[in-house]
């Protein structure tokens, strides 16, 4: 019972945070409400018995990634978002679309999905099992992810570096 109450409360906070994220017009406010979303999600994971994922969620998402978000917003000195005609059209069609999609997904979720029902917190989520999955069954995806990160770094180097023309010209000048 307590489980269900906590689950509902933090679920509500999560949804409210997500809506607020979209409604706010200043990026910093949006970023702060994203922290609320991330943290309440962590609580939900904890309630589902996934304590490791919950801890990772707090450390990485609510911690590291949000700090980066805020840094980027500060660095870019992003001001208030402006409403254009395009964004009005997006709101006009987007909100009914989102509502429709949300209702559809919720409705199918409420239907009996067919997978076995489990009690809250009954699924194994301990670091041991996650470690086993990560370094045994999912060893290949885990290793291949390193390639993904390497490519991302290369992309940053290539796209953030000076265009070749300038470097060549300065090279000739010497």
């Amino acid at each position: 019972m307590l489980h269900l109450a906590l689950f509902s409360i933090f679920g509500a906070i999560c949804v409210a945070g997500a809506v607020n994220l979209l409604v706010q017009r200043h990026p910093i406010n949006s970023a702060l409400s994203l922290i609320a979303v991330m943290t309440s999600l962590a609580v939900e994971y904890l309630l589902l018995g996934a304590e490791f994922v919950a801890a990772v969620q707090v450390i990485i998402y609510a911690g590291a990634i949000m700090v980066l978000f805020v840094f980027v917003i500060m660095l870019l000195n992003a001001g208030e978002e402006e409403r254009t005609r395009g964004s009005r059209v997006a709101i006009l069609f987007g909100i009914p679309g989102v509502l429709l999609g949300g209702v559809l997904v919720a409705w199918t979720l409420i239907q009996r999905s067919g997978t076995d029902e489990v009690a809250l917190g009954a699924l194994p989520g301990s670091p041991t099992i996650i470690g086993w999955l990560l370094f045994h069954d999912f060893l290949l995806p885990f290793e291949v992810t390193s390639l993904l990160i390497l490519i991302a770094i290369m992309g940053a180097v290539v796209l953030a570096g000076k265009p070749e023309a300038e470097t060549q010209q300065t090279g000739k000048g010497h």
Partner: protein, 506 residues
């Protein structure tokens, strides 16, 4: 702690690595290219690094040949080597090799730095190859991201052109959005079936189909439909293709697309994802119509070919609408044949475009092709072969590609879709023929001499033109091979392999 029970063995076997060898080879060569980049002289680096990268793709082709001798699954049912994955390995690695070959001169003309360029092509090929053999949605997602992110970056390589950066950022933002859809679909599929393994999903869906699985399929199709540029997820295509370097457009309109089609085939036919018929039907009809009609009014050859690639994605999708019955084999094999034929003609066409584009890619308007038949008869003749193949004229690969797809659709009683396809082929003929007419029947706009065709582009054109014609004259071998792989894909129990140990999540 061993929840798996059966999978006691804790380290991958040696054979697992052989089944993963092409990807390993490509990654190693990618890293060699990057390490060599600062070591070689800047002026000469272009050619040398290109040679290393080309050697990498050729070694990977050899590794694929070795891999094909060891069918089965590896790394605890993460990847599966069957003739299906061998087929797509050959295709995407060959595309990468041809693109590297046709990039040599282009890099010098456009003054693009070579190191990361070749490295990213090789790493992208890892992702594409992995997509075709992955049988686990999580791994498919990572492979998809490897191939997508490297193409996002490659699209922005013409650093001095604003249009290239525009192309890169558009592709990146919209692509990430589409990937999120795919990932959400994977999560819902996990919710519906309790597994992310293609094999287990298919077992669950054979016994009962939860409603959630339909939503999951739709979400996954949105993500993958974006990657193959099928309508209504096609809007990015012309802008991205216009801005990206021409050889890279040749790559991204064939390699990643072929790999994503492989993933779609696995999800739809091997995992039995439900409710694909109307998704595919609407998307195929829209792609063909929108692509062809919009291509009619294009004046830029890259945009024209972009819309043509949307239309071709539509033709290809027709094959996916065949039902999961005895004729599924025909549908799958016609789709596989189409990807090969399309890859050959499109890589070839973009090799011509990148050769003619000149510094800064200034000559990409259709007008620039006027009189090409007189200025460079051989180049015009090869481009004509590719364009005729894109129309689907007999004696070219494009003809049999369309023929097999349409006949598979007719066998499956998809009459309306086939009629839409045939009408669209006729509309499409107009804009391809327009280019041919321009080349042969109009006076050239300028009489300046064309640059000599460099050897890399020459080899690429020769290989792609010969492949296009061979597929049009002797399609038998490819068709037989693809039929066999299609059969293995639909009836995996028939192929004698030592696979399917259950996964641990329980």
């Amino acid at each position: 702690m061993n929840p798996g029970g059966e999978s006691m063995q804790t380290l991958p076997l040696g054979v697992d690595y052989i089944r993963f060898l092409p990807e390993i080879v490509l990654s190693i060569f990618g890293m060699i290219v990057m390490v060599l980049d600062p070591l070689v002289d800047e002026q000469r680096s272009q050619k040398h690094l290109g040679m290393v990268a080309l050697l990498g793709t050729l070694t990977a082709l050899a590794a694929t040949l070795l891999m094909s001798q060891y069918p089965g699954s590896a790394f605890w049912n993460m990847i599966q080597v069957d003739s299906f994955s061998v087929f797509f390995h050959f295709l995407v690695i060959a595309v990468a090799a041809l693109v590297i070959l046709s990039s040599y001169e282009y890099m010098t003309v456009q003054r693009i730095r070579a190191g990361e360029y070749y490295g990213l092509i090789l790493f992208g090929a890892v992702g594409m190859a992995l997509m075709s053999s992955a049988v686990e949605l999580v791994l498919i997602f990572i492979a998809l991201e490897i191939s997508s992110i490297s193409t996002y970056i490659l699209a922005g390589f013409r650093r001095r052109e604003a249009i290239s950066s525009e192309s890169s950022i558009k592709y990146f933002l919209l692509g990430s959005f589409a990937t999120a859809f795919f990932l959400y679909g994977v999560a819902l599929m996990f919710g519906a079936t309790g597994s992310t393994s293609i094999w287990q999903i298919s077992q669950v869906l054979h016994s009962r189909v939860p409603l959630l699985a339909y939503v999951a399929t739709a979400f996954m199709f949105v993500g993958l439909g974006f990657k193959v540029a099928s309508a209504p997820f096609h809007v990015w295509t012309p802008d991205v293709y216009e801005g990206a370097p021409a050889p890279i457009v040749g790559l991204m309109s064939t390699g990643p697309k072929a790999a994503v089609f492989a993933v779609l085939l696995r999800i739809f036919f091997q995992a039995n994802a439900p409710g694909r018929f109307w998704l595919i039907w609407v998307s195929a009809a829209l792609s063909m119509t929108l692509g062809n009609v919009a291509a009619l009014v294009q004046t830029n050859i890259k945009r024209l070919l972009a819309y043509s690639s949307i239309a071709h994605a539509g033709y290809l999708l027709i094959a996916f609408a065949v039902p999961q019955t005895a004729i599924a084999d025909t549908g799958i094999s016609s789709a596989m044949f189409y990807t090969v034929a399309y890859a050959a003609m499109n890589v070839g066409a973009f090799a011509v475009v990148s050769h003619l584009a000149g510094a800064g890619e200034h000559r990409v308007e259709l007008e620039d092709y006027a009189g090409l038949g007189r200025r460079s008869p051989l180049l015009a003749a090869t481009l004509t072969i590719f364009l005729l193949s894109l129309i689907g004229i007999p004696m070219t690969g494009g003809f049999f590609a369309k023929f097999y797809v349409f006949s598979a659709a007719l066998k499956a009683n998809l009459v309306v879709l086939t009629i839409i396809g045939v009408i669209n082929s006729a509309i499409g003929a107009y804009y391809y023929l327009r280019v041919i007419v321009l080349m042969y029947m109009r006076e050239p706009r300028e009489e300046t001499a064309l640059p000599r065709v460099p050897i890399g582009v020459g080899i690429t054109l020769a290989i792609t033109a010969i492949t296009t014609i061979c597929l049009g004259l002797f399609p038998g071998r490819v068709v037989n091979y693809s039929l066999r792989s299609a059969h293995e894909l639909v009836h995996p129990e028939m192929s004698a392999t030592d696979i399917r140990r259950p996964s641990v999540i329980r």
